[in-house]
């Protein structure tokens, strides 16, 4: 597909500017690429390498370490059913079987209409609300077969468009640091002195 668009390059440069080292922006930029194309393309990884000053191979190495990045198209809705301890104790496996039946696909695959990809997920930090799932990283708690079917029906019929964006977008709100308020990245090569609000070193040690 594509390198980052002009608009996204602008966002990318803003993100890069917040870090003392450009490479730190690699993961946020991979998210940006996934938001743009729905998955992370080779062209985007090469472009990110150019932007943060690393080789494409380093970007690939970082990207493939993390589960959220997909390297081929996935469904518009990525359905992650948690299968870790607390959810497993409360019926996660049965829910997965039901989900496979409802969607007509095995976990790890995508429906022919390209709408749903079903995956096993690890602990989603909602253990008291087991069994849980996420659709494009939006939670559903204490999921039953019935609420699962209702969810799929709602998604199919576009009833949750406001809440759940297409796969690729995680947070819909971005941090913006206003130019007049931002301090800017504090890089090791720029600063060797204690920050302004810290008392001089000799006073620092003399707390009684």
């Amino acid at each position: 597909m594509a390198r980052l668009s002009e608009d996204n390059v602008r966002i990318a440069l803003e993100i890069i500017g917040r870090y003392p080292r450009a490479k730190s922006a690699t993961i946020p930029l991979l998210h940006l690429a996934q938001q743009q194309d729905g998955f992370v393309t080779n062209e985007a990884m090469a472009h990110i390498g150019e932007l943060v000053g690393t080789t494409s191979a380093e970007v690939l190495g970082t990207a493939t370490f993390y589960e959220m990045f997909k390297f081929e198209p996935v469904g518009k809705y990525l359905v992650n059913i948690c299968g870790t301890m607390s959810c497993a104790l409360l019926g996660a496996e049965a829910l997965m079987h039901h989900a496979e039946h409802t969607l007509g696909i095995k976990a790890g695959s995508t429906t022919p209409d390209g709408l749903f990809t079903l995956e096993h997920a690890e602990c989603q930090a909602a253990c008291t609300e087991a069994p849980t799932l996420q659709v494009n990283y939006r939670y559903r708690f204490r999921v039953t077969n019935e609420t699962f079917d209702q969810l799929i029906d709602d998604l199919r019929n576009g009833r949750l468009g406001d809440e759940i964006p297409a796969h690729g977008t995680v947070a819909k709100i971005r941090q913006r640091i206003p130019a007049d308020r931002g301090v800017g990245a504090v890089a090791p090569e720029d600063v060797t002195e204690p920050p302004a609000w810290m008392p001089a070193p000799q006073a620092q040690g003399s707390t009684s």
Binding site: N42, M45, A46, T54, T55, S56, A57, E58, V59, L60, G61, T64, F65, Y66
Partner: protein, 803 residues
């Protein structure tokens, strides 16, 4: 027991002053003195207790990945299991490398590493020299309980033109990836994926095209990485090995030369602390292919009416001597000239220097080909590689070291990465070291002396240089310039920084050795350009080409052509037929690398021994023997009946080589420094930049690592790597030419006009054009960049026009 319980301690007499760097530790119950900062794994090894390891490599940072080196360490809090590659020794530390817990941990790790490792040792190139195999026997449990299915990957996959990767064999030690990133600076391979599915890979369609890729094969502790030139060629137990020095360039990396059945099959880097740290460039590593080439000259050739005909050595030597005698009769000693010698041994060079200077009596002798610097640079205060790589400031006034002296590039890159040094680079075109340079000063070709003057006036640079410890790396950055601008700049630098020392960045393997032992102009003698010009004017009766090919290597192609046409007699001693030897009246086949013993001197002056590993090709002979035979027939016995005689004669007669004896070299694998104090330092030459007139671009011509030279062209694995020829300009200059990238353009100078493909390259500065030198071209002789270059001009200005 505590210290207070042992009052006797107070009665002990005051001990001798202790070494502040000594740390007393206990290893397996034995008291051992280690060095402060030593890792446990090193301290134990020094004490004779080898701790098994896979990921640890002493030339790279510790990562603690494989966990093979786990030992028990007690620092007073009871024994803890620790990876010995990560912890430095501390006083009174107790280390147990083979306690039951340590052994169980080591056996466990071996079993885990073997869990997914295929047991295909019988068909694996590494079998027999495999650290995993060896340590499975020495430190493993002896059997595996793993009955699950192993990981499967496609095997093997090419990750570059030279290297194959078998991910099933990989034990994920991070050595290759660390090397690529930390040492070579080419992070083109990386771990990908995670956990049990972690693998090493390249980015899709971006191969591991590093000049140093072969090192990863050497340091791979299993058979996961194999090099295509060696795959399935030999088994380790069939290899014979001799330690030698690589003479592909003048860095002089130490190597282990390996052969089987009298055929070279592999070079391995040997860790020479002052030089290469175990690394080799791929051109050096895989250069053995050219030694074994079927194209090698096997018998002497004489020119007859029907062209070159094979002949016997007796007949060829007789013809050679007759040519020399005829020349002496026709024009006297100074009508004879010798060019070359930089590719052989010191002994070869010395014997030919004696032949030329003393037997024939000519001062017209040069080891360079109008592409180096005046020999006077060897008379300057010389820096070693170590000194350069630890200097506070390294000033580069040199060609792209990554292309010409690759392992020197690694050493200087390391100096910057480890924050020992800052690089101040003067160049006309971005180089491999530009991104590591503290400051890069771009100059228009020919104006480097002005650029240096201006830079030295910069306050920040002045402060940096005033802190002392400056090494200048000086070489010929641009073959489309004469050496004059470089020498002028060097003189400005040395004038301003009198304490600076110089590391000469001359390229050919033994150019420094050959020059120092005598292949340099005698009193009133001509240098290489002078010799060629004399030949072109018809005043050279006999030209001796000692392993040199002026038609390929002299930047001014027209000068070379006229010289070889004008020389009345040509005698060539070489390993291959080339454009120049094709014109010779006699061609004598020379023994090649690893076919003869001797010594070589690298750019620092470090003289090391060269090993013979295989029988010389065909009937070829070492050069020194050929020189001795010619001298004898001319009535002088040089007194050389063996190489040792020549080595001894060098030690006796050559200024600076008195310490270079066979015994001294045998005792010092890292060699002996031999300088040439009698060489006069260079003088300031005249730089005449002329008027650019209608010429838009000033030309930069420099070498790439892979070119059309014999070491690459006759190595089947390397030849395809030569990038080919094109003219490169800054992307912003493309429109100015009125052409487009990829289109053919004419490039013309005052001396010629050629057609090249136009390419853009941001490392080329605006207003200059770059063309790589001596690249293979498709149609024979179709493009010769040397046609644009005039050896008599300081710089070359060109016009680039669309067709």
């Amino acid at each position: 027991m505590t210290a207070t319980d042992t009052p006797t301690l107070d009665d002990v007499p005051e001990p001798a002053p202790v070494d502040p760097n000594a740390v007393s530790i206990t290893i397996n119950g034995r008291a051992v003195t280690a060095r402060k900062g030593d890792l446990i794994i090193t301290a134990a090894e020094n004490a004779g207790d080898y701790i098994p390891r896979f990921c640890y490599h002493e030339r790279m940072s510790s990562v603690g990945m494989c966990r093979m080196c786990l030992v028990e360490v007690d620092t007073g809090r009871g024994p803890q299991i620790m990876p010995s590659c990560m912890f430095p020794v501390s006083p009174d530390m107790k280390v147990y490398t083979d306690s039951p817990v340590a052994k169980a941990a080591q056996e466990g790790v071996i079993e885990l590493l073997l869990a997914n490792h295929p047991l295909d040792c019988p068909v694996c190139d590494k079998g027999g020299e495999c650290p995993l195999q060896d340590q499975s026997f020495s430190h493993g449990p002896g059997e595996s309980r793993y009955v699950e299915e192993k990981r499967h990957y496609e095997k093997p996959i090419p990750i570059s033109d030279l290297v194959f990767l078998d991910r099933e064999r990989c034990i994920l030690c991070d050595r290759c990836t660390r090397f690529a990133d930390e040492v070579a600076g080419d992070a083109l391979i990386s771990f990908t994926h995670r956990g049990n599915l972690t693998q090493v890979n390249t980015f899709p369609d971006e191969p591991f095209a590093s000049y140093f890729s072969g090192n990863t094969v050497q340091i791979c502790p299993v058979g996961a990485l194999t090099a295509s030139p060696y795959r399935f060629k030999a088994r380790p137990w069939d290899l014979q090995e001799a330690e030698s020095t690589c003479t592909t360039c003048s860095v002089g990396c130490r190597t282990a030369v390996q052969s089987t059945r009298d055929e070279l099959v592999r070079y391995q880097g040997v860790d020479s602390d002052p030089v290469n740290w175990g690394w080799l460039c791929d051109k050096g590593r895989f250069g053995f292919e050219s030694v074994g080439s079927d194209d090698r000259l096997a018998t002497p050739l004489v020119l007859t009416a029907t062209g070159h005909q094979p002949t016997s050595w007796n007949s060829a030597i007789n013809s050679t001597v007759q040519l020399i005698k005829d020349a002496l009769a026709a024009g006297g000693p100074s009508s004879i000239a010798l060019l070359g010698g930089a590719r052989g041994t010191n002994e070869d060079a010395f014997a030919f220097a004696r032949l030329a200077h003393d037997v024939i009596g000519t001062p017209n002798v040069s080891s360079q080909l109008v592409d180096g610097l005046p020999v006077g640079v060897l008379g300057l205060p010389r820096a070693t590689i170590d000194q350069a790589a630890s200097a506070k400031t390294i000033i580069l006034l040199a060609p792209d070291l990554k292309e010409e002296l690759p392992v020197l590039y690694l050493r200087l890159r390391d100096a910057v990465e480890k924050k020992r040094s800052k690089i101040l680079e003067f160049t006309s075109k971005g180089s491999g070291l530009t991104k590591y340079a503290w400051k890069t000063v771009y100059y228009e070709p020919g104006t480097q002396a002005d650029a240096v003057t201006t830079a030295l006036a910069d306050p920040a640079i002045a402060v940096q240089i005033a802190s002392g410890d400056v090494v200048v790396v000086a070489g010929r950055a641009n073959l489309a310039e004469s050496s004059a601008p470089t020498i002028a700049a060097l003189n400005v630098l040395l004038g301003a920084i009198p304490t600076a020392s110089v590391l000469p960045a001359l390229r050919r393997g033994n150019v420094v050795g050959a020059t120092q032992v005598g292949i340099r102009p005698g009193a009133g003698g001509l240098d290489s350009r002078g010799i060629l010009e004399a030949a072109a004017h018809g005043s050279i009766e006999c030209l001796i080409l000692l392993g040199s090919d002026p038609l390929s290597d002299v930047p001014d192609a027209d000068l070379a052509r006229r010289a070889l046409a004008g020389a009345r007699r040509i005698i060539a001693i070489d390993t291959f037929v080339n454009d120049s030897t094709a014109l010779a009246h006699v061609v004598l086949p020379a023994a090649g690398y690893a076919e003869k013993i001797g010594t070589t001197t690298n750019l620092e002056g470090r003289t090391t021994s060269l090993a013979q590993k295989i029988t010389a090709h065909g009937t070829s002979r070492p050069d020194w023997m050929i020189a001795g035979e010619i001298a004898r027939q001319l009535g002088t016995d040089l007194g050389f009946s063996s190489v040792a005689d020549v080595t001894a004669a060098i030690a006796t007669h050559v200024d600076g080589y008195d310490g270079v004896t066979t015994n001294a070299l045998a005792a010092a694998p890292n060699g002996v420094i031999a300088l040439a104090p009698s060489i006069d330092r260079v003088n300031t030459p005249t730089v005449d930049l002329g008027d650019r007139n209608a010429y838009d671009f000033r030309l930069v011509v420099s070498r790439k690592l892979y070119d059309a030279g014999v070491a690459v062209a006759h190595a089947p694995s390397l030849a395809p790597l030569a990038p080919g020829v094109a003219v490169f300009v800054n992307p912003l200059d493309v429109t100015r030419i009125g052409s487009s990238i990829g289109a053919e353009v004419t490039v013309s100078s005052s001396t010629g006009r050629i057609v090249l493909t136009l390419r853009a390259d941001a490392s080329v500065q605006r207003g200059s054009a770059w063309v790589p030198f001596n690249q293979p071209t498709s149609a024979a002789g179709a493009v010769k960049i040397g046609d644009l270059i005039d050896a008599g001009a300081s710089v070359t200005d060109v016009r680039i026009e669309s067709i």
